[in-house]
């Protein structure tokens, strides 16, 4: 027993990372027709990484500098790349978010009846892909997982996405909307990552090493001279933008965001939950893990540009969300709006690196990543719940549904308020921290962003009003269209999300402590 304990503790990260693949293989071996067994097996197996993450959280020493639970294995020796894993407070928070949202999303997928086995297996592969990005301490391994997560998501959208809808692509040539959206999703992300890929190759060639801590140190000590026949500064600036664009597409930052509303709208509910909950965080994580440490000078120099893009995302995201008629698209644009705050915090921290303001802004940004993961996943799920019953997402088709579905209404209002940033719920804490940290550094941009917050309120209230309030749409009262209340399984899906939303809102110290110490040590 002691031996097993020791083994688990020594290989905790590998276990968390690869257990989902193992689970996927198990699921693929189950008989095809027993849908119930497939669902429950997948769900219970997905709880294992969560459990391991909780052990990890408990064993993690927040005050200790550097990476913990490091593991290193041979991978591609010829080009000096190793499977190097490790966590600090930043990656730990993201790992918790991933392993938490995956079982939640799987539970939300119990209504899938088409090719359940493959669906569930793809979801588990996706989990490994996302975790790999957060756990990697080797730049090549980071890229491997970064790309590989795209494949399951592509198939989830284009096979299990919404069957309705067409998009005109070229002079009357129409394609199914989910095909359009999935291809756009994968090509935008891959295309955006080309620069990242090239920059990674360049770093590897320069230093004959892909180990992240080593690269950070060597790359930063390279300040003068020439590289590839160009001044080092020029190369660094180009490489900086190559990294930024790859991550900005994923976050997504205006003007690289256009894949997101399409992908979200067409994805199955659980796909949207993971897409908004975790995949967008990969981009922000890239900024924090790679861009700021590798390019401190360039980040500070171009912080104003980043802040500008962030504010555009906040303002345009809010306006666009307000203008939508489709409930799911509204929530999708709200992600652009909320992730803008993450980037604003990062920009402020880049500009004022090392100061207290920077630290506050970073705390806000990371907490906002976690919070948005909870509330966006919740919102997409709630949209899915009502869509499944009404088969419409058009806000004008609802109206006054609160008396019909009081519990659903309550949950929807609660989650919306978290998204809006109501004090006492989690969104308030993180957005306040970002704004507080960014204000002295980027005053004008922050001021505009706060006006953007006003519109956040507007679109969220618009959503609530159209669905729950106003004159009751008699269509849903009786007969075959009678709207049914949210069921127990669906409440269980929401329960952990709502609990965390409330807990972080009231007592954020447990998670902020980990984030704060990590930020302090990463960017002192």
């Amino acid at each position: 027993m002691a031996l097993i304990n020791q083994f688990i503790l020594q290989h905790l990260l590998t276990l968390i990372l690869f257990f989902p693949i193992l689970a996927a293989v198990v699921v693929l071996c189950l008989p095809k027709d027993n849908i119930k067994a497939i669902r429950w097996t997948t769900f219970s197996l997905s709880l294992v990484p969560l459990l391991l993450t909780i052990i990890l959280w408990a064993q993690f020493k927040a005050g200790q500098a550097g990476y913990q639970f490091e593991e290193q294995y041979h991978w591609y020796a010829a080009i000096h790349s190793t499977l190097h894993l490790g966590v600090d407070g930043l990656s730990l928070t993201m790992v918790l978010l991933t392993t938490l949202l995956t079982p939640v999303a799987l539970l939300a997928s119990f209504n899938i009846n088409d090719r359940v086995k493959v669906y569930m297996a793809l979801f588990l592969f996706l989990e490994t892909g996302m975790l790999g990005v957060f756990l990697a301490l080797d730049l090549l391994i980071f890229f491997v997982f970064w790309e590989i997560g795209l494949v399951p998501m592509y198939f989830l959208i284009n096979q299990w996405g919404s069957e309705k809808g067409e998009r005109e692509i070229w002079k009357g040539v129409k394609v199914q909307a989910r095909n359009y959206a999935s291809l756009k999703f994968i090509l935008f992300t891959m295309g955006g990552s080309l620069g990242l890929l090239l920059a990674i190759q360049m770093l590897g060639v320069l230093f004959q090493n892909y180990d992240l801590p080593v690269l950070v140190q060597k790359w930063n000590s390279l300040t003068t001279g020439s590289l590839l026949g160009l001044p080092v500064q020029t190369v660094k600036t180009v490489a900086f933008w190559a990294f930024v664009i790859a991550f900005a597409v994923k976050v997504p930052v205006w003007p690289f965001h256009t894949w997101l509303p399409d992908a979200h709208t067409e994805a199955p509910t659980a796909g949207s939950m993971i897409l908004a909950g975790v995949l967008l965080k990969l981009g922000a994580y890239g900024f924090l893990r790679l861009v700021l440490p590798l390019y401190p000078a360039e980040s500070a120099h171009y912080a104003g540009w980043l802040a500008f893009l962030a504010v555009m995302a906040i303002v345009f995201g809010a306006f666009s969300a307000y203008g939508q008629k489709d409930f799911k698209r509204l929530v999708a644009y709200s992600s652009v709006n909320h992730m803008g705050f993450v980037l604003l915090g990062i920009a402020a921290a880049a500009k004022a690196a090392g100061t207290l303001n920077a630290n506050i802004a970073l705390n806000g940004a990371v907490l906002q990543m976690f919070n948005h993961g909870l509330s966006a996943a919740g919102m997409f799920f709630l949209v899915g719940v009502i869509y499944e019953r009404t088969h419409t997402r058009n806000l004008e088709d609802y109206g006054g549904l609160f008396p019909l579905v009081p519990i659903y209404g309550g949950i929807l209002i609660f989650t919306s308020m978290a998204s809006l940033g109501l004090p006492g719920l989690n969104g308030f804490i993180s957005e306040f921290l970002v704004v507080r940290g960014a204000w002295p550094v980027l005053t004008l941009y922050t001021a505009i962003a706060m006006i953007g917050l006003l519109f956040t309120g507007a679109y969220i209230l618009k959503g609530i009003k159209n669905v729950l309030h106003g004159p009751l749409n008699e269509h849903w009262v009786q007969g075959e269209h009678k709207l049914t209340e949210i069921n127990t399984r669906e409440i269980i899906v929401m329960a952990p999300l709502m609990t965390l939303i409330l807990v972080i809102g009231i007592w954020p110290a447990w998670i902020l402590d980990v984030i704060n110490k990590a930020m302090g040590m990463l960017f002192h």
């Binding site: 590989i148 090509l187 090239l198």
Partner: protein, 490 residues
């Protein structure tokens, strides 16, 4: 004296071909079983050679030498190094899977398998030869049956045109190389075709610069280098399935490999001088091939042109003359071989059932042919260089090699990644997903067990190497060391 592994591998297919010809034409079952057993035997030996090859020692191993024509200095001289040993393995794999997939050929299977096996002998011979003359000898043996295989069993619409075009291109290419080789023989003053001796001869730089280009390009025609590539898509499309697999999977490697062995390794100074030109041509292959592939409406032409693009990466890796580039090129030869073998196998399966390869006329095939669809998806991911598959393991070091030579080329070549991704994803979706056209309803029969085994074997190789590069990289790396030494440690 150890067991003569390489001679047995090289001559097994030839002996089997003669044996098959002894059967009566109607003994189809016996013919097939003989073919499969011979193929499995050759594969088993090449697996043995692969895993017993000592990477730590490196150099040429399993060496055998028999006098053949001593007065001219020609001997039957076999040996493999880290570059060729994966290719011998690849040939064994393509041979076995090719036979499995051609199980159902009803039109003169006796002659078909006999020609296919003569071709296989030639291919094994080129990869194992350490004698320049023998290399040509086997090279021509590999090319000649191609003409018959395509013009007799090929796609009725273009087979005569394609077979003629392919043969003329390849013969002209090899004649040009042969002249170069003879000049090398005369100039060396050693009166030997032994490449191990020729490697050590210091030819003058001027000589090397003059003769490198004809020798390299003559062979590279078979590797599909621009602007001599356009026999290849026509040839691929016209050939019957197993021949396409051999053709794209192995034969194109033959060209690249011989260009490396004779061009770069015997004339290293010439290689250094002409590397920028080869790089430029390879860059056109990579980018132009990807664009042309993306506008094809025939499923098989898509794969044909994608091969042009991917073989460009091999040439590119060679042209960098850097350890990473050569390493990547070596792995890419294997990875691309397995990938196209898989692609052509699946295209063949689709065509046999749907009787069309026009992408707009296909659709929804994943339901009746799930494993074929998975095969094409895996192949597509390899072809777009997705990490976790063998294509990434190969392409990444090639790009690193380019970075060490000329970064601008890397930036331009990267365009092909996104173009490839877009067309392979579109093809997969149009052929395998969506609604099945009414004309196909009920015509799509499931594939048989042998087909399944072949597909699974090919997929497993690509995923295995993608996840564990150590399954192949150390072999190639040991071969690269030797080439670098010849290049003067560049």
């Amino acid at each position: 004296m150890h067991f003569p592994f390489l001679s047995v591998i090289v001559f097994t297919p030839l002996v089997a071909a003669l044996g098959i010809l002894l059967y009566k034409p109607e003994q189809k079952k016996a013919i097939r079983i003989t073919a499969l057993s011979a193929a499995i035997f050759a594969l088993a030996l090449s697996v043995w050679v692969y895993f017993t090859y000592d990477k730590a020692v490196a150099g040429y191993q399993f060496v055998e030498k028999y006098n053949w024509m001593p007065m001219l200095g020609i001997s039957l001289h076999f040996g493999v190094d880290g570059m060729s040993v994966p290719l011998v393995l690849l040939t064994g794999i393509v041979m076995v899977t090719g036979v499995m997939i051609s199980w159902g050929i009803e039109d003169r299977p006796r002659e078909f398998f006999a020609f296919l096996f003569i071709l296989a002998s030639g291919v094994f011979g080129v990869f194992a030869s350490l004698d320049l003359f023998m290399l040509f000898f086997f090279y021509e043996i590999a090319v000649f049956p191609m003409y018959l295989l395509i013009s007799i069993w090929g796609w009725i619409k273009t087979r005569e045109y394609a077979a003629m075009k392919l043969t003329l291109y390849l013969f002209i290419g090899s004649v040009v190389s042969l002249i170069g080789a003879l000049v090398i023989y005369w100039t060396s003053g050693q009166h030997t075709f032994d490449m191990l001796v020729l490697e050590t001869v210091k030819f003058t730089p001027t000589f090397q610069k003059i003769w490198f280009l004809p020798v390299f390009l003559g062979f590279a025609v078979l590797g599909g280098i621009f602007p001599f590539h356009n026999w290849s898509p026509d040839g691929h499309v016209a050939a019957p399935t197993a021949v396409s697999m051999f053709h794209a999977g192995v034969l194109m490697k033959l060209g690249a490999f011989a260009a490396l062995r004779v061009g770069i390794m015997l004339l290293p100074e010439g290689a250094k001088f002409w590397a920028p030109l080869i790089m430029g041509l390879a860059l056109i292959n990579i980018v132009y091939g990807a664009f042309i592939a993306s506008v094809q409406s025939d499923f098989k032409y898509v794969i044909g042109f994608s091969s042009v693009s991917h073989m460009g990466l091999v040439m590119m890796g060679f042209a960098t003359l850097k350890p990473e580039g050569l390493l990547g090129a070596g792995v890419q030869m294997f990875s691309h071989g397995v990938m196209t073998a898989l692609f052509f196998a699946t295209v063949g399966m689709v065509y046999d059932r749907a009787h069309t390869r026009q992408i707009p006329e296909l659709g929804g095939l994943i339901k009746p042919l799930p494993l074929v669809a998975i095969g094409v998806i895996v192949g597509s991911l390899v072809s777009m260089g997705m990490p976790g598959f063998s294509g990434f393991v190969a392409e990444f070091p090639i790009f690193m090699g380019i970075w060490r030579t000329q970064w601008l080329v890397a930036v331009i070549a990267a365009i092909s990644i996104i173009v490839t991704a877009s067309y392979v994803l579109l093809v997969v979706r149009r052929v395998f997903f969506g609604k099945m056209p009414e004309t196909l309803q009920g015509h799509i029969t499931p594939i048989n067990t042998l087909d399944k085994i072949a597909l699974v074997l090919l997929m497993a190789l690509m995923i295995g190497i993608g996840i564990f590069p150590a399954l192949m990289v150390p072999w190639v790396q040991s071969g690269v060391q030797h080439i670098l030494a010849l290049l003067g440690g560049a």
